[in-house]
């Protein structure tokens, strides 16, 4: 599996297709997050913005390899494992980017509540933000896995489906990502730091299920 992960990582890094989602995320944060704003609000923004980035990264990783090259790897390790490696690399990169963004945002934001009256300790706020970010990275991976090959093959359908699903995953009540982000925002209003463990666990479960479905289908759909 290590060899597969390093192969998929090299494919992603060298393809340079990771650049657009990164630039978009940086622009999104540049517009929405400024130094001196309440820390929990900014962290909620950071987490929510990561979800479509993770979905996009999954799409890149899954479509990076030409079908014939994918067949060679699939014969060697099994098509399910080959697909799993692509999803894991996308998730890891999204989680890494989210972690860096969370640390930076935690450091440049003001450790206060939304009304600037209550002090919000920086470290617990950062930890809460990290959990929410991871929940969004996970759910974004699930969205990407369910809206790319082998589930959706034509780009014309897959990309709008991915964008819509990513949007819904952030805004629809009941989604773990929505729960994690709104937890941070309401926490900012009340001046208390939430601990979004439940949304994180729910996101992990959903992502595991989505990954299992996608990996199981790889050998059943046409290339």
């Amino acid at each position: 599996m290590t060899a597969l992960l390093s192969y998929q990582t090299a494919l992603l890094v060298r393809s340079q297709r990771w650049l657009p989602p990164f630039i978009l995320y940086a622009a999104f944060l540049g517009i929405g997050v400024q130094g001196g704003q309440p820390v929990l609000d900014s962290l909620g923004f950071t987490a929510a913005g990561l979800l479509p980035v993770a979905a996009w990264l999954v799409r890149i990783c899954v479509t990076n390899e030409p079908p014939a090259a994918r067949s060679c790897v699939s014969a060697a390790v099994g098509p399910g494992r080959a697909h799993l490696a692509a999803l894991l690399v996308a998730l890891s990169v999204a989680a890494l980017v989210g972690t860096v963004a969370t640390v930076v945002v935690t450091l440049i934001s003001d450790p206060v509540s939304a009304d600037h009256q209550t002090r919000v300790p920086r470290l617990p706020a950062g930890a809460a933000g990290l959990l929410a970010t991871l929940a969004c990275a996970l759910l974004g991976t699930a969205v990407g896995a369910l809206t790319a090959w082998p589930l959706l093959r034509s780009t014309g359908r897959a990309v709008p489906a991915m964008l819509l699903a990513a949007l819904l995953a952030v805004v629809v009540t009941g989604s773990p990502a929505h729960a994690a982000v709104s937890g941070l925002v309401t926490g900012s209003r009340s001046g208390t730091v939430p601990l979004p463990l439940l949304p994180l666990a729910a996101a992990a479960l959903l992502t595991a299920a989505a990954t299992a479905v996608a990996c199981a289908l790889t050998s059943r759909r046409s290339p």
Binding site: A3, L4, S6, Y7, A10, L11, R14, S15, Q16, E65, P66, P67, A68, A69, S71, C72, V73, S74, A75, A76, V77, G78, P79, S219, R220, R221, S222
Partner: protein, 300 residues
């Protein structure tokens, strides 16, 4: 290397794409034993590639079962160059995926590229490789980790003449080492006389067309004259692909076999205990008359 423990078995295997698509293959039974060389034939679009994808484990059968998966390598018909690596970089990654360490993968990759006359392209970005060179890369990725099952889907297409012969010799070597090889090729003289079995894909089914004994060689042949100790018999595993053998005088054997397999026979004879003495090796002119069709499966 350790030969695979069990046979790969396809039991009543069927495959179709989509929920209501037509059956591409149905009711296929196939057993692949270590060291087997199996040829699959059939007109275009009859499901040869689908069968090979099932054998390689890339696709799962819609019905039926496949058991006994060995360590598998696959060569597709057309290999893409749209990979952001050099040839050596890609092959090192694939060697690791096949289970080699990084240095072993790089070493094997260079060695095999050299055998196929592509050593000069080792540091060339894949995107700049010609079609033939990228096909060599596809072949090398499959051979470098000494798989237990090698699946070749028109792997010879696009290779130059020297590389085509080298791939035939590599297949002969691998099967002699216990690797099972399943291949499709449009050229009827490809490894002629060597396959243990030839199957035809027809009407979504698989027919056994010919066992080894019935196959008529049409490719280039080699005649090897060797001397052994009095009464010595040719080693059984090396003699598998022999087309004709005679003993003009006691201890001297004149053996005719497909050119692709002559190295394997010579290696076996020279490393036998006691070793044989090689008197002469000569290439026969390839048969020019059309081969008598060994059976009429396709004409019925």
């Amino acid at each position: 290397m350790i030969p695979m423990q069990r046979d790969l078995r396809l039991d009543n295997v069927g495959r179709r794409y989509g929920l209501r698509g037509p059956w591409v293959l149905r009711g296929v039974h196939l057993t692949v034993t270590p060291g087997d060389l199996i040829r699959v034939e059939g007109p275009n679009g009859t499901g040869k590639s689908t069968l090979l994808r099932l054998v390689a484990g890339i696709d799962t059968p819609t019905e039926g079962r496949i058991t006994g998966r060995p360590r598998t390598a696959y060569v597709p018909e057309r290999f893409p160059t749209a990979l952001p690596f050099t040839a050596l970089g890609y092959l090192t990654h694939l060697g690791k995926v096949h289970g080699l360490s990084r240095p072993a993968a790089a070493r094997a990759a260079l060695e095999w590229l050299d055998r196929f006359g592509a050593a000069a392209h080792a540091r060339t970005p894949m995107a700049q490789l010609s079609k033939g060179s990228s096909q060599k890369v596809a072949v090398v990725q499959a051979l470098l980790a000494e798989p237990e099952l090698l699946v070749l889907d028109e792997a010879w297409t696009g290779l130059d003449a020297a590389a085509r012969e080298e791939l035939e010799r590599a297949v002969a070597e691998r099967t002699a080492d216990g690797t099972a090889v399943v291949f499709v090729d449009h050229d009827p003289s490809r490894l002629a006389g060597a396959p243990d079995a030839t199957y035809t894909v027809r009407d979504a089914g698989l027919d056994l067309r010919a066992e080894r004994a019935a196959a008529q060689p049409v490719g280039p042949l080699m005649t090897v004259v060797v001397q052994g100790t009095r009464g010595a018999q040719l080693p059984a595993d090396a003699a598998r692909t022999v087309i004709s053998a005679e003993e003009p005088e006691p201890g001297t054997h004149r053996v005719t076999l497909p050119a692709s397999h002559s190295d394997v026979l010579l290696r076996a004879l020279l490393t036998a205990r006691p070793p044989w003495h090689v008197v002469s090796v000569s290439q026969d002119p390839p048969a020019t008359e059309p081969r008598p069709t060994p059976d009429t499966e396709s004409r019925r």
